[in-house]
Symmetry: C2
Subunit: 169 residues, 2 copies
DNA sequence: CGTCTGAGTATCTAAAAGTAAACTCAAGTG
DNA sequence: CACTTGAGTTTACTTTTAGATACTCAGACG
């Protein structure tokens, strides 16, 4: 009997299929970064872009969507606005990443890593991430609390504290 | 002078903004898993669902989209079909994850982890990942090749072997 | 005071997603 | 041999996103 079957063994219902899926951190994260362009905007921020025109130019994304996405990322606290001033021009806003935005790096590095492995350009990656201190390549890894590297196949998902079943209907 | 500025110092053009973005592993991964429902389907596979009706029921996703997404995931080699047979019923297809699909776990765990941190249900997560062997909680971490834990802010992105500028136009 | 520029809005069209229900198909059952 | 079931497909309609262009707005400059 697995961890799921233990949960509600009294009902005949499989808890995986009858569970309430409204409390899901994956779905909630996707509400914030799951729209088209959002993750690519963050990519450009990490690569060094900060101005509206930078994003527009390098992404080729429609201006109205860009404005909407940037506004949302600021509202969510993933980006913040500062001002910059080119000599002879007036002050204009620019976008910088916040610590909350930095915490999305592992997720996006995960996407990057998968693409590097399975859909790479024959010449290799166009951009690589490296550790500022030692210059070594950086990647994402699964680790358990005790610090051991873990392979995806050795992970099991189990009901957490907020697990609940869907109400009948 | 940073690693970007070194690349094409002869032109006055900022290589971040003039670069060719068509070779991007993040964008390519999003082509496969960036559509609505796709990542949520994978979530359900990890939680133990495998049948068409399982996904339909637990996700509440339209059948036509579900069929389209499943077909694409199989074409991409992220899921594979096997057959199952309930007693007294004929054989039917089910969907199982492949090693290539397993390699998406770090990316999705990254999303999960961010959601757990910033958009958590007050009661906590509904589902948690744990190491099958030791039972400890599993998370994703950034590490450099030398094995040291790395913080997102200590990473820099630098041009890789396939870096190139957009052709003028 | 007219012009230029970066940072947006506004508006309109096109594509994709959501919703709902009917239809197909093949094997197993009464 | 009609009936059921899981796994889809097809069709029809609505709503939501995406994309392309045109327009606005606030200084700085001449």
């Amino acid at each position: 009997m697995d961890a799921w079957t233990e949960v509600l063994q009294d009902t005949g219902m499989d808890p995986r299929l009858g569970r309430d899926t409204s409390n899901c951190s994956i779905a909630r994260t996707l509400e914030v970064v799951g729209e088209k362009w959002t993750i690519l905007i963050l990519r450009e921020v990490w690569y060094g872009s900060s101005r509206f025109s930078d994003f527009e130019r390098v992404l080729g994304c429609p201006r109205n969507l860009l404005a909407t996405r940037l506004r949302m990322l600021v509202e969510e606290g993933i980006l913040a606005t500062e001002t910059y001033k080119e000599p002879g021009a007036r002050s204009r806003p620019k976008y910088v990443i916040t610590p909350k935005g930095m915490d999305l790096v592992p997720a996006v590095m995960g996407l990057l890593q998968w693409g590097d492995r399975y859909r790479a350009d024959p010449e290799g990656p166009a951009v690589v991430a490296r550790h500022r201190e030692c210059g070594a390549h950086v990647d994402v890894q699964l680790r358990c609390e005790s610090g051991h590297p873990v392979q995806a196949k050795d992970i099991e998902s189990v009901p957490g504290p907020a697990f609940r079943m869907r109400s009948a209907g």
